[in-house]
Structures are given as structure tokens and as C-alpha cells.
Amino acid sequence: MSTPKTLFDKVWDAHVIRQVKDGPDVLFIDRHFIHEVTSPVAFLGLENRGASVLYPDRTFATADHNTPTINQHLPVADPLSANQLAALERNATQYGISHWGLGHIKNGIVHVVGPENGITLPGMTIVCGDSHTSTHGAFGAIAFGIGTSEVEMVLATQCIMQPKPKKMRITVNGKPGKAVLPKDVILYIISQTSASGATGYFVEYAGEVFENMTMEGRMTVCNMTIEMGARGGMIAPDETTLNYLKGRDLSPKGEQWDKLVPYWLSLKTDEGATFDLDLTFDAADIEPQITYGTNPGLGTGVTHQIPTADSVKDGSASYKKSLQYMGFQESESMIGKPVDFVFLGSCTNGRIEDFRAFASIVKGRKKADNITAWLVPGSHIVEKQIQEEGILDILTQAGFELRQPGCSACLAMNDDKVPAGKYAVSTSNRNFEGRQGPGARTLLASPLVAAAAAVTGVVTDPRQFI
């Protein structure tokens, strides 16, 4: 009997080409996603070295960070953004890499289009010059974000040099309450572990909450794992995973599919395998969440008060600076806080289920007059689903407009910037100072909490609408 292994060990060990003495492992990478922001300097480096792209067919390019969310048929107005988008297209063409640029039917946010087109598969190693690459861990892949030097490294060699991280398991059992979405589960976990609580670890999620979760929900959870400092998060592949993948455009078909299924289903943590850290939470403790500070760990139940400085793990000076930036006080209630903007979208919550959840609350209601709402699908495929399922009609009747796909206000590299001092309830992943525009104030929340704010104009408990 061999030593019991965790899911993470099984996938990692299967990709180690060489263990450098007193150094990192050389890890083979199955899929490399690139986008316009973190790749141009990597291609320049490649050129300067006289190297080429080793496996263009394992590399996929999409334009997302800089792209406008209206009038995508027009030339991109910002010359710097246009320049980066042109560089991506030029580099992809030169090296023979598939490129889903603006206007392409498969274009969208990299972490949305990878899974929905069947590029992301269980047991893979996947990297991208974007920290939310951890999203793909939902499929039982080891997926993590890398820097631009590493993008160059993977382009040139299809490998990355990484020390093996420590392993953490986070188990959540029980039944989540009313209006609790996967976003609330992960925001709750981050609030309990802090923004640095999983640094140095790779997380495996276990327990009935994740077993019963849809693939889209699992992607939301793995996506935000990075926000507690972890390299990534993953969930063992199961029937839910297979059902999601079967028949997708680039998923394996026929005999190849049949051959892979038993391998994929073997990718789970063996009985007796150990973790460096094991954390357990009870789903009953989780209610709809909202953040009040300037990192994703500073969040709480939507009906709760903002904690006092002496009760948080971060240093009290940093905490007070955070509340000052947000314009909040210790011990205040979050319910009823004024909101100016609502953002539904991003690689965290820009999928069809997120739009279904949002629509379930705004249906038959009206957008509050004080709210500017940016509803941004994660991809053209999601956009099409929104139209086909009648969600667009619901949104339109409630006074909302749908925008075109892209990262949008998540990091505000395009024109979708929340003005200084304004409050945004945002389904994205980060509430750092200035993240959604210089001086903008972000409250992270689920699509249901966002919808409740969009129709009331203030922070509202979504349970009152369900």
C-alpha cells in the first residue's frame, strides 16, 4: 500500500519534471492563459533572449482587463489600452497562439472563458499572470497566479519553478441558511482566517457544502482563496464536475473522455492523508456577508455591526486607517449604509448563476434612483445566456442596462471607475483602497446582497426579499 496522498499531492507530483537540489520543483504546466496586461513585457523578454513560445497550443490569449464594456465595436479610445490590446494580438499572431480578442464570440474574462469552453480540466496545472487563476481549482486542477517574469518562463519553457506549498484543508459541513451564496461562504472563511491566514498554503475544500455546490459556486470559492493569502484552492472532481465539462467546445470527446473519467475521479484525498493545517466551519454560522474595510478579510454578516479595533487580527493602526478610508466608525451597523454604485460581474461573480440570483430579487422591482448599476457579464457566452433565459427582460423592466463582457470595475483599468468617496456594493474580489477607482469605497458582497442594494439604494439584508 502506497502512502496516502492528498488531492493536491496527486496533481502536483504528477507534474514534477525535476526536483532542484535545495531548490524549487520544476513543474510542467498543462495550460497557460495570457491577457493583455501582464504579457507584453514577457514577450519582449522572450525576444531579447532569442527564445520562442515552446507550446503555443497549450497557451490561450484573451483580452479582458482593459476592454471597454460599451461600444466594443468601436476602436478602444484610451491609447494605452489600445496599445496593450494590439500588442496581445500581435504577439499571439506571431507565435501561433489562439487569441480571443474584442469582438470574438469566445471573448471574455480569462477565468470565465477557460472553464466554459472546456479548456480547464481536472488534474491539470494551470497558470496565468493574474492572481485569480486559482478559480480553475474548482475542477481539481492546481491553478495559480504568476508574475510577468514567470509568464516569460512558461512561454519559453512550459515550466515553472516553484517550491511545494504547505497543505491546508478547509471543511464546511451543514446546510447554509437562506440567501447564503458561495460568495458568502468564502467571504465568511476569509473573515475568519484574515487576509494573510493562508499564506504559504494551498487549500483543499472539503465537506458537504462544497460537495453540494454547483461548479459556478465552486469557481467563486476557489477564485477568492487567494484573498486569504493562499497560492490557490481546489476541490476534488466529481459527477458535478463531469456534468459541467461534458460536451463543452474544447473538452475531450468520445474515447479520450472515457479514458480520462476514471483518472479524474481518482483525484481525491486518500483516507489517512494529512494536511499541515485542518480548519472546520459550520455552515449554520454563515449568513449573507458584506465587507466594511479595505481588505477582503474585513467582512461580517450583513446584519452585524462593524467590529471594534481591539477585536480584529490586523494591527489596530491599520484597521483604523482602513475604517477612516471607508468613512465608517467602529460598532456602526452596516444595514442602511448609503450606496451609490452596484457592480455585478468579474471573474468571481460574472457567471450566469450570478445573473440569475441578481434577477431573482430585482424581478418586479425597480432600480433605486440613487444607484448607478454596472451589470457586466463575464463573457459573450454568459451575455447570450442572459438574453436567452429572459433575464435581460427582467433587468430591463427593473430599469437596469446590461454592459458588454470584461473585467470592468473590478480593477477599473477601463472607464468603469467608481468616483472618489462613492460607495460601491461590488460582487468582485477586492476592496483595496482605490481598487475600483482612486478614492472609491468598495463593499464586497454576493449577487443577492448587490441586488438588494440596487433596489433599495442602501445596504440591505437580501433575506427580506426571499
Partner: protein, 198 residues
């Protein structure tokens, strides 16, 4: 990208005791639009450093002539958030060669070494000592000795060891990078790729 070799660095230091300094603060997203690695130092800590009218904020440490040097001393969980290597480029381009903290975010730590910045992780107690020493004398010098893996407060001789992977240490001391190493493995990589099921 080649960088200067790192062996022994003696310098005064710039203190930034805030915890959870994320890479969005180090370099805001709107400055990531370049297609070349140039000029990032000008926008290092842009929104903490400048007012909206581009005048410097007097109370920000980089605008305070009392503090200078090639070492940046940060609070716990330095470099959290986005994977943008631009943050490390901005720190390097500004003139820092070493960042000291009691705790670094993973990707930031990797990115730093990859661009030639040495991240030195010290104990929370030693970090406090460094902040106190700088507070007492802004010109106080630190010595960061990579071959010996030590960081020393020169005025008092107080010292602490820091950990670094032997391989990474070798790279930094010689100005090499991982890509050179991997390019020499091309055949082995090719053979491995053949065995992948997808």
C-alpha cells in the same frame, strides 16, 4: 530580465509600518498599461504619495527627506493582493534593492526575487527593533548580507538570520534567472510533455 547581482547591502532604510500593504497601493491598476518595463518608479505608491493635482503629500514617507536608502521596511503581510509584477518593478525602479518585513505575500515574494529585489523576512520582534532604531535615528544603517543570510542593525550590532532557498540565493548572488536554467532542460521537458494525457 537581467538585474544587478546582490551580495552585501549597507544602507539606511525607509520605514512603512502599515500592515497589509497590497500591490494595488504599491502600483495602482491604471499604471499597468505600459508594454515596456520603464518608468514604474515614478508611480510607486502613487495615491499615497501624490494629491490629485500631482503635488506630493507632505505626510507620506517617500516625500520626507529625513528618510532615504535602498531598503524598504514594511509591516506584516507586505505585498498582498494582485500578482502584478509591476509592483516589484516599481520598487526596484525607485531604487530599493531589499524589502524587509515580518511576513510577505507569496506571489510578491516570488516576483521580488525574480526581478532582483531581496525580500528579507524577520521576526516580529526584530522588525519592531528596526522601526524603533529608524525612529530614533533616521540615518541608522542596516547591513543585509545575502551570502551569510543575516540582517544587522549596524549601530548596535543586533543581528538576525533569514531564510532563503539555496537555489534562489545562488541566482540572486550571480544575477541569473530561472529561465536560463529551464532553457537548458528543453529535451527533458519535451519528453515529459509527450506523456501528458491532455
Amino acid at each position: 530580465m537581467a538585474y544587478d547581482k546582490f551580495t552585501i547591502l549597507r544602507s539606511s532604510a525607509v520605514p512603512m509600518p502599515n500592515e497589509n500593504v497590497d500591490t494595488d497601493q504599491i502600483i495602482p491598476a491604471r499604471f499597468l498599461k505600459a508594454t515596456e518595463r520603464k518608468g514604474f518608479g515614478d508611480n510607486l505608491f502613487r495615491d499615497w504619495r501624490y494629491n490629485n493635482d500631482n503635488t506630493p503629500k507632505a505626510d507620506f514617507v517617500l516625500n520626507n527627506p529625513t528618510y532615504s536608502g535602498k531598503i524598504l521596511v514594511g509591516g506584516k503581510n507586505f505585498g498582498s493582493g494582485s500578482s502584478r509584477e509591476h509592483a516589484a518593478w516599481a520598487i526596484y525602479d525607485y531604487g530599493f534593492r531589499c524589502v524587509v518585513s515580518s511576513f510577505f505575500a507569496d506571489i510578491f515574494q516570488n516576483n521580488s526575487i525574480n526581478v532582483g529585489i531581496l525580500p528579507v523576512k524577520v521576526s516580529p520582534e526584530f522588525l519592531e527593533k528596526i522601526f524603533a532604531a529608524i525612529d530614533a535615528d533616521p540615518k541608522t544603517e542596516l547591513e543585509v548580507n545575502l551570502p551569510a543570510q543575516t540582517i544587522t542593525l549596524l549601530a548596535t550590532g543586533e543581528s538576525e538570520s533569514f531564510a532563503i532557498n539555496e537555489y534562489k540565493k545562488h541566482n540572486l548572488t550571480n544575477g541569473y534567472d530561472d529561465i536560463d536554467y529551464l532553457l537548458s532542460m528543453k529535451e527533458e521537458i519535451g519528453a515529459f510533455a509527450e506523456t501528458r494525457p491532455f
